[in-house]
Symmetry: C2
Amino acid sequence: MAFMSQAEPRRGPLLVVGGSEAKEPGAPILGTLVALAGGTDARIALIPTASRDAAGKERLYGDLFRGMGVRHVTCLPIESREEANREDFVQAVYDSTAVFLTGGDQNRISALLGGTEVAKAMHRANKTGLVVAGTSAGASAISEHMIAEGGTGLHPRKHMLHLAPGLGLLRRVVVDQHFLQRQRLGRLLSIVAQNPFVLGIGVDEDTAVLVEQDYRMQVIGSGMVTILDGRELAESNVLTAEPGALLAMGNVRMHMLPAGWTYNIETRTLLGAFPLPPSARASDTGEILAHPGP
Amino acid sequence: MAFMSQAEPRRGPLLVVGGSEAKEPGAPILGTLVALAGGTDARIALIPTASRDAAGKERLYGDLFRGMGVRHVTCLPIESREEANREDFVQAVYDSTAVFLTGGDQNRISALLGGTEVAKAMHRANKTGLVVAGTSAGASAISEHMIAEGGTGLHPRKHMLHLAPGLGLLRRVVVDQHFLQRQRLGRLLSIVAQNPFVLGIGVDEDTAVLVEQDYRMQVIGSGMVTILDGRELAESNVLTAEPGALLAMGNVRMHMLPAGWTYNIETRTLLGAFPLPPSARASDTGEILAHPGP
């Protein structure tokens, strides 16, 4: 396996967390992140850019990961685009086995990190094994199309949200977080109505989607992941409705999946209720620990 | 048309209202009921059995319908199974063009009316043209499988509700009401998980489903109707989950339809956004006014 991984580098998994993940030792989501990143040998870089309290996030997650036995936790307190081009921060990304984007405001991530050297390093390193994880705002920013802000409620309405380009690590997907708790079904449906090409993935609090390099995903945590597939969407009123009007959505294929269920994002097929094969669990093999610099 | 209707009696439409329908003159839902029942020539029988305040419901809807020009509004204040077998009440059903079941507790409708002569008269008269309408509890009781009581929330959980047999005027369907406002997506999904044979229809407040004899339905009112079709449902954990556990639901076909959208309940196909043909509007033709006694 180690030989294979050198011949053909494996893309690192993405861990997309819906926010408010359990923080106690042994909690499944952060435990999965640590395991994916190499267990006690993990080297985790915190990027608290979404938050205006970077020091608080550094303390919170630094203590948590160290408490879980991780020896190397570093923080990249990026507060400006200039800092997001700093060579030492770029190198820190390449030196890490996982990058963790904290919560806050996803617009800070896209505006301050988008297109910078740190963002490029995350992309490049992810291609050869870096784990990229994000919670809440950090989860939203991982996908190609990012919900910048939006309304709440179960019903889709025209123009109930604003999209912005995200970091683009997860393509053809829009991620929403705090999904159940903040009543976000409507706004995710409204994006699918606008372009059924994108798959809507709503992640509850204390719940995560682990996406492997082959676009298989598995649900982790105590809540559910709601997947909205608009491939078969009937013609709707999205082109004619007034802003704020209810959008008719016919033939939405919906999946609501609790922990353990797996799905293929690329083929849009439900795989079933079984754990992903060991390839997703890098800590078992050490494969993802080797990724070269740029 | 009148000749045709005598040769081959038309089944009366069903009007399934999600509760809290607008009460002002000209409001679309109650206006549709009056139009279906014959306009000013309508003969509407109120059945306030779901409520413990029959006199209050009689006053409320009696005044409303009379205010809309209906000359004949009668009330059948059925408070016991004995009263539900009274000959004058049975005759009143046959003498009416529409029966209206008010809100309250749907268990009172099923327990007090189920299997009685009044219920049989409603079935028989509906087959030859009687309009049957129900709001809130009255809407729930119209379908074959009735939600007797249940939990709230967006996520389906095992055993989160209790079903009871309803009046059975609308078959192969479970109706839920106050759908958006009381967060009932989860419980309706959980029924579909238990037997995808039934179609889940969730009706918002101030919203109604008008079902024609050929099982085409149209949405009326200010909210939406959510249709949950489990025909293609993936194998779930419904058989193995513990009571209260989250139910995995893969491949649910969902439709969220605002006013004007039509759907065929029998073939489970979305028809589009156009009004039903005049056959649904009995007041135009007078057809449904002629239905014989038992």
